[in-house]
């Protein structure tokens, strides 16, 4: 039975219209809250951790810490959430904790890589001119490492948008609820709408962060970075 294009659009609108107008908005807001909170905390923990681990006194421990952080990401997201279930129970907060642990690695790793990547000669010049260590860090090392740190943050945020769909499993809400509802009710349009929205959200966050970076940095970075 052939259907016309108009009928096709009609069908589409009938199936998805209510999903997008009624179900998605509250879930999307929950999802965004989850992602922003988790990524925010991951940044607040990850960047300082990366900075501390590149200071001379702690540099020798950086690999050990990275290994630990690595475990956070090596464990599948689902398993991570399962592990936290008995410890933290269910709900929003356990979901955020799991997501923070999951999103930490790219941020710590890139912060370390970015700071380590700053040319020794440049650091030596800064110190040689009489800058204090914290001046060298904030005026020289950090701005030069910034694009790489930002790349880590973007990676982390994008991963978190995806992983956050699993939060629904422990009552953390978000777009995952729609997806899992779709699975259990055998409603593929729920699955599609939920994951599609998550994908678009990931892209928007990525672009948003890139824009932020551009505004902050203007044209201040060397081209070959």
């Amino acid at each position: 039975m052939a259907i016309t294009l108009a009928q096709f659009w009609d069908n589409l609108a009938q199936t998805y219209g209510p999903i997008f107008s009624e179900r998605i908005p509250p879930l999307l807001i929950q999802h965004i809250q989850l992602v922003l909170m988790a990524t925010g905390i991951a940044i607040v923990i990850g960047v300082p951790l990366g900075i501390i681990l590149t200071r001379p006194a702690l540099r020798k421990h950086s690999q050990k810490v990275l290994n630990v952080v690595n475990i956070g990401q090596a464990v599948p997201g689902l398993a991570l959430i399962a592990i936290f279930l008995p410890i933290l129970g269910i709900g929003y907060i356990p979901a955020v904790v799991a997501l923070v642990i999951y999103g930490l690695l790219p941020i710590v790793r890139n912060t370390i890589a970015g700071l380590d990547g700053v040319d020794d000669k440049i650091k030596e010049a800064a110190r040689g001119m009489g800058m204090y260590n914290n001046q060298v860090l904030w005026q020289i090392e950090f701005p030069l490492a910034f694009p790489i740190i930002m790349a880590g943050i973007k990676t982390s945020a994008v991963i978190t948008v995806g992983t956050a769909t699993l939060a629904a499993l422990i009552g953390g809400g978000g777009l995952g609820r729609l997806i899992f509802a779709g699975i259990s009710l055998f409603r593929p349009e729920f699955i599609l709408a939920g994951s599609g929205t998550a994908a678009v959200l990931a892209i928007i966050i990525e672009k948003g962060l890139s824009l932020f970076e551009k505004v902050v940095v203007k044209e201040r970075m060397p081209l070959d970075f």
């Binding site: 000669k121 440049i122 030596e124 001119m129 204090y132 060397p222």
Partner: protein, 374 residues
């Protein structure tokens, strides 16, 4: 004044600098030369305490430098590092204002200073102030590195191969620019280079290092005349005599009281000179158009007709030019003497090939080092 007192540095088992004692007087430039890895950069880094010496210490103006807070110490020491090390994320103006900012100058004063320094290193302030280092050529970057090190007018400067990464012509320009500046600024400078020619040109004092040890520290003249051993002689190179040419200016070697005679009556006037007992001196001959020639009085005695002997004096140089330049000009024009401009109303001098030859030979001959050189 900087005094290194038995300074040494070990990296684990490896001794980078053994035990170095060296004194650089106020306002003088000491050039450290030596093969790669002999400890030049290490010594520089010790002087501004980027690394701690394993042995010994450094006195700056008579005071043990360990008594000062290290960041404060460094602000009084301009540091031009090997490979420049400009901050890539900061504009030229921002790079140059680093130390003034650290010293807490106000913005207006800093801005003025930046422009002044850019002028000093011969970069147009309006054109370059807001550029980033990557937008400059290698030679321009080195100028900015120099300006940055001088920004807060530190009494001491450490310069680690500041002109290494540029072509010979640019390097020569930078060297000349720096010499001009130093004549005014009179900073106490430690300057590192691989290049013995640069050392001879820039240094009041040259320190030759070998595997972390000081082999010889002397004035360039003394070093060229008296290399202490085979290593120094080899380092200076087989063309020691040629290098000496760089060290002296024309006014140090020229004749100032060469007689000037008229071309129409030169035969008679020359005879009179000989009769009055003059010997072996250059004589300047001037014709009616003011064209100048010259001959050596000794030649007249041997040959006879002056007309065949006199050679044109076509080249005029400044008293500050090196005798190497004079030599080069003579070779180019197939002349064997040049005129040297007199200061204001003084008579011009004459510099002859023979004069140079004798002068250089006397320096080389007087030195026991001559036996060392190949």
């Amino acid at each position: 004044m900087i005094r290194l007192d038995g300074v040494g540095k070990d990296f684990g088992d490896f001794t980078a600098v053994r035990e170095l004692s060296l004194e650089i007087p106020e306002g003088k430039t000491c050039v450290m030369v030596g093969p790669s890895g002999c400890g030049k950069t290490t010594t520089m880094r010790i002087v501004n305490r980027l690394i701690e010496p394993t042995r010994g210490t450094v006195y700056i103006d008579g005071e043990d430098y360990k008594k000062k807070k290290v960041e404060i110490l460094r602000r009084d020491i301009g540091y031009v590092i090997q490979e420049v090390g400009l901050f890539p994320h900061r504009t030229i103006a921002e790079n140059i204002s680093t130390t003034p900012k650290l010293a807490g100058w106000d913005d207006k004063k800093i801005k003025k200073r930046v422009d002044e320094l850019l002028d000093l290193v011969e970069l147009d302030p309006d054109e370059n102030r807001n550029k980033f280092p990557r937008q400059l050529s290698g030679g321009q970057r080195q100028r900015v590195g120099l300006a940055r090190a001088m920004a807060a007018d530190p009494p001491v400067m450490l310069m680690d191969e500041p002109f290494a990464a540029v072509d010979p012509i640019t390097r020569e320009n930078l060297q000349n620019m720096f010499l001009r500046l130093q004549r005014k600024m009179k900073k106490t400078i430690v300057f590192v280079t691989h290049d013995i020619n640069e050392a001879i040109k820039m240094g009041d004092q040259i320190a030759i290092l070998k595997q972390g040890e000081l082999v010889q520290a002397d004035t360039p003249e003394e070093l060229l005349a008296n290399p202490k051993n085979q290593f120094v002689a080899d380092f200076i190179g087989v063309d020691r005599a040629i290098k000496i040419l760089d060290l002296f200016s024309t006014d140090e070697v020229m004749w100032t009281e060469a007689p000037v005679i008229k071309k129409q009556s030169m035969q008679d006037e020359a005879r009179k000179l000989i009769e009055s007992g003059e010997k072996g001196i250059p004589v300047i001959v001037e014709d009616e158009q003011g064209k100048k020639f010259w001959f050596d009085l000794d030649e007249l005695e041997k040959e006879g007709s002056l007309e065949d002997i006199i050679r044109p004096l076509e080249i005029t140089l400044d008293p500050t030019n090196s005798i190497k330049l004079a030599m080069a000009r003579m070779l180019e024009h197939n002349n064997d003497a040049v005129l040297i401009k007199g200061e204001e109303d003084e008579e011009p001098g004459i510099l002859t090939l023979r004069g140079i030859r004798n002068y250089v030979y006397r320096i080389c001959e007087s030195s026991p080092g001559e036996k060392v050189g190949k």
